[in-house]
Structures are given as structure tokens and as C-alpha cells.
Amino acid sequence: MRETAGASAVAGSAGSAGPAEPVLAAAGLTRTFRLRGGQGEVQALRGVDLTVDAGASVGLVGESGSGKSTLARIVAGLIRPTAGSLRLLGREVADASERRRRALSRDVQMIFQDPRASLNPRLPIHRTIAEPLRTHGLPARRAEVARLLDRVGLPARVAELYPHQLSGGQCQRVGIARAIAAGPRLIVADEPVSALDVSVQAQILNLLKDLRDELGTAFLFISHDLGVVRFFCERVAVLYLGQVMESGATERVFATPRHPYAQALESAAPAVRLAERRSRIVLQGDPPRPEDPPSGCPFHTRCPVRIGPVCDEVEPAAYPVGDGFARCHLLTPEEGR
């Protein structure tokens, strides 16, 4: 029967990834988009290295246009990288065929930013939630849908409704139910709470955390809100113009950011605690346009502590910092500058 076929396929995929194998390992991941009308190209990702261990949550922060969604879409299989390697559950997928890629879809799921837009407006909720089950040959009975709804904190009668009849928070719960339905090993969440109110954000974040702890799913969690990443992720990577500027344990990166951009980002986040008000680093100027990136260090056009011509000319390498790294000439041993 199909059900057993589905189950054995999963067993197979789990077997091929050894216990120490990360669910996601990207190396030198690059994606270039050609601009409309052949007017040049944009490097949305430039040599990204990133690892997500089984069951771990890695945050990805950065400004608009820094390449967060591009990375998410590559990992979820919606687009292909132009260069570099991407291993998911131990399998190289950077140049996998569509069918081989689809075979991984049960293990890699995604939660989208716009909760309502990610649900088909013409399908009642139960059909949306049943879709991954059917697709992967799992039992998709109404009881199963009701169980999933319950698991994300929605009453069973929601199954009969359409997306426009639900609030944004409820839609996102449905999106989460769909993502966990087939039991994935990695969930890519692209700004899953950005479109929601603070109070609803808190509900959804608690829910995601509960599900993660219960199911042991790994997360690649994108947000521009540092507070959210701090709550949810053990590790974080700071993206700027398609490059990882700094990465490491979340607490370390937020407590003692080493890259000037990470420092500015951290200090720009509004602090509610009245005692924590402090002078903040306000960057000058806009982020450069990705289709026209600066030479040398990508951050040099806005960097408040630029050290000299070396920043304009030489792209800084990744220097180890704690258990992560940062890309800044300030970290070079003096004689190396």
C-alpha cells in the first residue's frame, strides 16, 4: 500500500543521514538573478556557508534585500543556487533534478511570511492541511486533520472554513499545521511572525517552540527582529548584501557582536526596558543596492569604524570568533592589514 511505501521512504532517508550529519549544510552558496531586459545581474547570495544540526534552530537576520528569502527559497527547493553546494539530510541537492528534489519535500517544509497568502483562497482548510499527507501517501482522514488542528491550537470546526474567514494568527497556525503534517526534519520559516501583532507573535512563537521541542524538528528561522531570533534560536547568522557578516551562538552574537554591522543592528533594536536606554549607533545612509555592490568590504559605505583604504579594496575573510566567525578587517592581526 502507499502508506507503507511512504513510511519506508522516510526510513531510507533517515538512514542515509548519519547521526552526526547536519540536516542542512551549505557551502559557498551563491545565487545570481539576471535583471529584466538583460540589464546586468544581482548577486542575491554570495558564498554563504551555513550549517543547521539536527533538531537545532538557526536564525538568519539581515535587512531587506540582504538575501534571506533567497536562501530560504533555495533550501525549500523553490529555486536553485547558481553555484556552491547544498546538502540536505546528507544529500547534495544543489544540482538535483526536479524529481530528486521533490523526494526531499517530505523532510523539508516551509512556513511563509504572509499567513493568508500562503493558503489557497479557494480551498477549505481541511484540504490545505491534508495536502502534504495525501502527497506523501499518508492517511489523510478528517480525524488526522482535526488532530493537527488541535496540535496548533485551533478548534476542529476551522477545518470547514476558508482562509478569508480566519484571522492572520489563525491562518499562520494553519500554515504551521500544514508544515508539520508530514513530519519534516527541517522547517524553513521565512519571517513567520512579521505580519502579526506582538501579542499574536508571542502565541505563534510559543507554539513553534513547543512543536520544536516535541517533534525535534530543526529550524532555519528568518526574521529581521532580533528579539524574536533571540527567543527562538541557539545560533544566528547575520546577513548583509548576500554575505554572512557574523555568525555564532545567539547569546554571544547579541551580547558581544564583533562585526560593526552586527553591532549597529543590535543597538538599533528598540529597547523596552527603561533602564536599558542607551546611546545607539545610528548608521548613515541606505544599504547599498545589491545590483551595484561596493568593492572590498560590503559594509564599508556605512561602517562607522571603517579603518582605511583596506576596507574599500579588500574583501575581509571570515575570522573565527567563539564558535562562529565574523568578516571584518578589524579582526585581522595587526600586521595582516
Binding site: V198, Q201, F254, P270, V272, L274, A275
Partner: protein, 336 residues
């Protein structure tokens, strides 16, 4: 308090199709000259509707009632067109999405000039130089170039700066800012908030700052009105409201934020969501979500009442609630 610059008195906004349904249900708001006042609450609480009715910019499906007193002169809010002369001159507004507030097919410099033409007696020359002056004032590095650009050629932050320049063009006494940084990146948001802070300070302009982000409010405003389901449920100084929130809704909001900032293991939440205009609960509108609700809350509609330590709150159980001490008073924290 000195005589208020703006006093909004008993504003009611109802749906034309069914006047019994109210998006805003009898609120009073005051802003003193030069003061930065915040309007906070979850989305759908009526913040934007309040702002729009103040400027006579309500959607056609909505009708306002009440009076606004601006600088001593009272105006009836029911007639939006009568408020038009105030727009731009005495009260200016900036919006959440700067792109939709600009004409896409006209260079931004020309749009600024148009505003000046309507509201000032400046001549062509004068207008041009005033445009450049304004753009410079809002921190645009190359005003010449930007004046000739179309909105789509500018970044979100630049567009918001242009809108702010437009709002400043006639030296309004009050700036209404409806979530001006929600669409912007963190670092750009910090730039814009810095700019607004300077402007309020230097131009002696008052500001009604609408936000769902208590963090921004905490850094930026002196007084705050907390709105819930079309009503003001608590008001007072930002300091008091954030440190010792009295109303259960404010407490819940503040807790949400405090736990997020603390790196807590679980976040405090407000269960449920804001009721729509067609599903207002009887009694206290917050009762279905309130952890302190008792039977009386479901039948009696609480009204704003003065609090012992200043400010007001609308809750039947104000004196009986456990002592509130939000997590925001700032005990030292491990990570910093």
C-alpha cells in the same frame, strides 16, 4: 497641563452600512503643544481610524461624530470636507507605507512643490529652494538628485523622508504619524525615529505617534493612550504605564514585550484576538481575553476612571488586581 493643542472629544466612528457597529466608540485624546503622545494597541483596535477621522480622511464606508479642538478652534468631525483646510497647514500626517502615499508618476520634488503651492504664497523660485531646504532638513544627502527622482527609484527610508519633508512643508503644529516605521528595516527605522525626535524637539511640533510597538513608544513619547476594541482603556505617562500598567490589557501587552526582551523561555501572550466591530462582547470588551475577568465584567461596561497615581484606566477591578510590576523596570540582566 497647559491648554491642549489638540483635543479630540467623544469621537465615534461608525459604519455607514450599519451605524450600530462602531470602529471607534467614544474616545477623548489630548495633545499639548510640543508633546509626543502615543496611541498603541493591537491591529484593529481603531488607531488608524482615529487618525484618519482627525484629518477628515475616513474611508467612504465610515462616518465620524464628535469634535476636535485645534489650537482653541472647535471643528465638527462629522463633515470631513470641512477639515480639509486644516490638513497640511495645522495638522500633517505620515503613513505606514510611503509608496502608496506618493504619486508614482511624478518626481518627488514636484509633489513637494505642489503642496507648497497650495499652502504657501511662495513663488516658483521660492518653492524650489524651499523644496531643497526641506529635503536637506530630513537628512537626504543629495537633495538635487532626489528631487528629480520618482518614488520607485527611492528606497523605503528615502520615501519616508520625502513624506516627512512634505508633512513639514507648512510647519504644522501637529504631526500625526501612523506606524511610520513599520515597513522599514531596523537600522533605517532607527534613522527615521531619530529624525522625528529631532524635528519634534527643534520645530516645537507636537506629535501623535501611532504604533503597535511599545518599544518605540517607550523611547520616544511622553504620554500614551492604550486602545482596545475602539476604546481607550488606559492612559498616562509612558513611564507609569510601562512600569506599573494598571489595566489588564496593558499588563498583557507589556508582559509580551518584557518576556521577549528578557530571553525568557516562554513568552507571555494575550490569548485570543481583538473582536471585530460586528462581534463586540457585552460588558468589558476585554473580558473574553482577560485573566482577571469576573461575572460582573461580562455585564458592566467599565468607563475610564482616574487612577491614584495619575492617569486613567477602564477596568472594574482596578483596585483588586495583584500588584503590577512589569518586567520593564530594569533589573540588571545577564546578557548585558
Amino acid at each position: 497641563m497647559t491648554a491642549p493643542l489638540l483635543a479630540l472629544d467623544d469621537l465615534v466612528v461608525s459604519l455607514r452600512s450599519n451605524p450600530a457597529l462602531r470602529a471607534v466608540d467614544g474616545i477623548d485624546v489630548e495633545v499639548a503643544p510640543g508633546e509626543a503622545v502615543a496611541l498603541v494597541g493591537e491591529s484593529g483596535c481603531g488607531k488608524s481610524v482615529t487618525a484618519y477621522s482627525l484629518l477628515g480622511l475616513l474611508a467612504p464606508g465610515l462616518a465620524a461624530r464628535g469634535t476636535v479642538t485645534l489650537d482653541g478652534a472647535a471643528h465638527d468631525l462629522a463633515d470631513g470636507d470641512r477639515l480639509r483646510p486644516l490638513r497640511g497647514r495645522d495638522v500633517a500626517m505620515i503613513f505606514q507605507d510611503p509608496l502608496t502615499a506618493l504619486n508614482p508618476v511624478m518626481p518627488v520634488g514636484r509633489q513637494l512643490e505642489d503642496v507648497l503651492r497650495v499652502h504657501t504664497a511662495l513663488h516658483r523660485r521660492g518653492r524650489r529652494s524651499r523644496v531643497l531646504e526641506l529635503l536637506e532638513r530630513v537628512g537626504i544627502p543629495a537633495p538635487d538628485r532626489v528631487a528629480g527622482s520618482y518614488p520607485f527609484e527611492l528606497s523605503g527610508g528615502m520615501r519616508q523622508r520625502v513624506l516627512i519633508a512634505m508633512a513639514l512643508s507648512c510647519r504644522p503644529k501637529l504631526l500625526v504619524a501612523d506606524e511610520p516605521t513599520t515597513a522599514l528595516d531596523t537600522t533605517v527605522q532607527a534613522q527615521i525615529m531619530d529624525l522625528l525626535r529631532d524635528l519634534v524637539h527643534d520645530e516645537d511640533m507636537a506629535m501623535l505617534f501611532i504604533s503597535h510597538d511599545l518599544g518605540l513608544v517607550a523611547e520616544f513619547c511622553e504620554r500614551v493612550y492604550v486602545m482596545y476594541a475602539g476604546r481607550v482603556v488606559e492612559t498616562g505617562t509612558v513611564r507609569r504605564v510601562l512600569e506599573r500598567p494598571d489595566h489588564p490589557y496593558t499588563r498583557a501587552l507589556v508582559d509580551c514585550l518584557a518576556t521577549m526582551g528578557q530571553g525568557a523561555d516562554r513568552l507571555a501572550t494575550v490569548p485570543g484576538s481583538v473582536p471585530g466591530t460586528d462581534a463586540m462582547p457585552a460588558g468589558c470588551r476585554f473580558a473574553p481575553r482577560c485573566p482577571y475577568a469576573v461575572d460582573a465584567c461580562r455585564t458592566t461596561d467599565p468607563r475610564l476612571a482616574p487612577l491614584p497615581d495619575g492617569g486613567q484606566a477602564a477596568c472594574l477591578r482596578i483596585g483588586e488586581l495583584p500588584d503590577a510590576r512589569s518586567g520593564l523596570t530594569g533589573q540588571a540582566e545577564g546578557t548585558r
